[in-house]
Symmetry: C2
């Protein structure tokens, strides 16, 4: 498939140019932008549901919910209340790109937004290659997936700044070892900040909320 | 990214040509070829481990274990014993393609093989576009992932012939509804054969083994 490589490079450099433009605009507005990435079913939508509900009085949030098909996630998140939520259906594509995000941002009123969440397509490979203009990628991994995933899908863990280990309420139901997944993740990226949560039971979410609030505070000061 | 489309089509048609060649060779040899696809962590490797252990006296099996990085899966499966197991590391690519598979097949002694398993990269999107010359795709989904996945990632369910619902031992730990996931899957593809299993506890695996043995028997007769 060597014929594909020059075109791929061109597409990626166009994407990077547009992502840089998005980043400048969001930074000018002092908006924290987080690109949430994971396998399908690790709990991105659940984490966002809890966050929108809990933080709505403290932060102005906007959310772009990416999916290959269906607006299910956007509908779940709109029910969580109060926040600007827009679906972004890729229609088959395996990742979001900066052009898709830019198209949605053009239609949003960003004037009072503190945090923009971009929920990527559930895919632990392809979204790692596409900068969306975010401040950082937040990768989720759940305790039902297997503790060697950071080694098997290293690019995503290398390019993320935060790893949220979700479904800690299900520890003990399989041979998943939380210490091993953390060691594997840190072997790939020693700078990863790691949070351990259960989005169904609520464990660890306070630390996530405080981290988020701290990010917003820091960005306002810049 | 319209510039990418003609090249993408060319790559896919080259892939299809090579996949057809693989299919002819495997069919001439009366080998059943199954392409196992799923999200990361749905249990492809666990299902294969159990199958290699249990069926080794009844079937001659070969296995190509695809991964983005690491030979972990191939190592786990080699320990399961007795079978020809080859790792296939994509080095970053998000799917296997027919050229990669062809390269591995050229080095295998297929003379006595009944079943070839191809364990794809953990990715519920991209592998759906790449024919590997298999008889059919077997898609795994686990009860910890979310019962709307067939609607959100329809292409994979449309192009698969069998859906294995894994981790049924974990039903009840979340709001995952097995009836809903089956209805969603059948809405996308009414011809899907659905098997419900727990690879850790063993539930439902006998039906999988019998189905597999039946496939081998049917192919020998052709």
């Amino acid at each position: 498939m060597s014929t594909n490589i020059p075109i791929e490079k061109k597409v990626l450099s166009e994407n990077d140019r547009l992502a840089a433009k998005i980043r400048t605009e969001l930074t000018d507005r002092r908006i924290v932008a987080l690109n949430l990435v994971s396998s399908p079913g690790s709990g991105k939508t659940s984490l966002l549901e809890r966050t929108l509900e809990t933080m709505r009085d403290r932060l102005q949030m906007a959310l772009i919910a990416g999916d290959v098909q269906t607006e299910n996630d956007a509908a779940r998140l709109t029910r969580a209340g109060g926040t600007i939520v827009r679906p972004l259906i890729t229609g088959g594509a395996c990742h979001l790109d900066a052009r898709m995000v830019s198209g949605v941002l053009d239609e949003l009123d960003l004037s009072r937004v503190d945090v923009l969440f971009i929920e990527n397509v559930g895919n632990l490979v392809c979204p790692s290659s596409y900068d969306l203009g975010e401040d950082m990628k937040v990768v989720l991994i759940s305790t039902t997936e297997g503790d060697d995933k950071p080694l098997k899908y290293p690019s995503m863990f290398r390019r993320s700044s935060v790893m949220v280990l979700n479904k800690i309420d299900l520890l003990g139901t399989s041979n998943f070892d939380p210490e091993r997944v953390k060691a594997n993740a840190l072997q790939i990226n020693g700078n990863l900040k790691i949070l351990e949560v259960s989005c169904t039971r609520g464990d660890g979410l306070d630390e996530w909320y405080e981290w988020l609030a701290g990010m917003v505070k820091a960005k306002k000061k810049r």
